[in-house]
Symmetry: C2
Subunit: 216 residues, 2 copies
């Protein structure tokens, strides 16, 4: 039996591959492992059965026999630890790739999500226009630093790793903001990620869920 | 030679153990491994020599021979992987402990940091008073969910793990907000972490830096 992950029955991103199941789908595709997907409605997300799997009532989750995990970063790491293709064999290079996983999720993603949340929850507030440049300034600080470290390399540290996988998808959350376009090397980095065959397969799989739901 | 980590020469928390070097110090103490500390000034943080170690110009960093890491979560994991005491031996229990590491840093910490940042950067703005309940609502959502999962257990999943270590320190960032006090079981959880002898040794070590700097 393949592991089963959860994804939105109706993804709020309308099949753009920005929901966090995309991280796990891409990881499975990179390592060439099959997986099953169980779709969860917004109502089910907050119900006891799903909370038993995911205390914070989100997607994705991961189930494999008796093991149940949540948090996209943890699930990607779990896949990367068990199958070749997402973490280097060399111990030091492996530790650095894991560092980039945490950097993507704990340093780069939070200000990006904060801007996104403000767009949803505070767009009609009188302060929105004055706060937006503050939020974007914080994101630019991170992008400046990330671009400086990436330089003209293809990936953050040697070969493509789970750190790049998470960073590419975190940066994709800036789509539509115009911010990523200010950084040509980071835009090219994201495009390199998106050009990988494994990314394409994962993207198509999540898009198919949206297309079927729209038809349905 | 012991690994060397970096910490603030003058910690903005005035020795309260809220800076992120505390996470790494506590991890070293739990596994009984010695470590050296190099203090870094605010000026040095943003200079090229430190940026070479930490692209985002923060503390802590970790150096052990040729290996250089950053991100407190990644460093704690690196220590936990190499020494017994922070991750269970059982493979499934280990994966669940790692899940809690990511949950602490990617799900629970961001809204807490957002409130903290607003306190620094927006306290004098006309919208601060109206936004604060929004931010605190987001934190309460997370604490509700965390308290529901913890129940009356001592730790998040069986024995104390690196997931608890990070979660306890993330929750400590709420000190002074009054929010944690609304959740007696979470307050007791944090107190249990703080009562561990390894925590105490780590706390004393970071406090000694502040005390020496204040004298100096």
């Amino acid at each position: 039996m393949s592991p089963t992950i959860t994804a939105f029955a109706q993804s709020p991103d309308r099949g753009r591959g920005l929901a966090r199941d995309m991280r796990v789908r891409w990881a499975f595709e990179e390592v060439g492992q099959p997986y099953d997907v169980r779709l969860v409605s917004f109502l089910e997300l907050k119900q006891a059965a799903h909370r038993a799997l995911h205390p914070f009532g989100q997607i994705p989750t991961y189930q494999d026999g008796d093991l149940a995990l949540f948090e996209s970063g943890a699930i990607v790491f779990h896949i990367a630890e068990r199958h070749a293709g997402l973490l280097p064999h060399d111990a030091d290079a492996r530790a650095r790739a894991i560092t980039w996983m945490f950097a993507a999720l704990n340093t780069v993603e939070p200000p990006i999500v904060e801007r996104e949340m403000a767009g949803y929850a505070e767009r009609d507030k009188p302060w929105y226009a004055e706060r937006l440049p503050i939020l974007e300034g914080r994101i630019r600080d991170r992008l400046d630093e990330l671009a400086a470290r990436l330089g003209d390399a293809d990936w953050l540290d040697g070969e493509f790793s789970a750190g790049d996988l998470l960073m590419v998808l975190v940066l994709r959350r800036l789509e539509g903001s115009g911010l990523l376009e200010e950084y040509p090397t980071l835009s090219a980095y994201v495009a390199r990620g998106q050009a990988r065959p494994a990314y394409q397969r994962a993207f198509d799989a999540q898009l198919a869920v949206f297309t079927a739901a729209s038809r349905g």
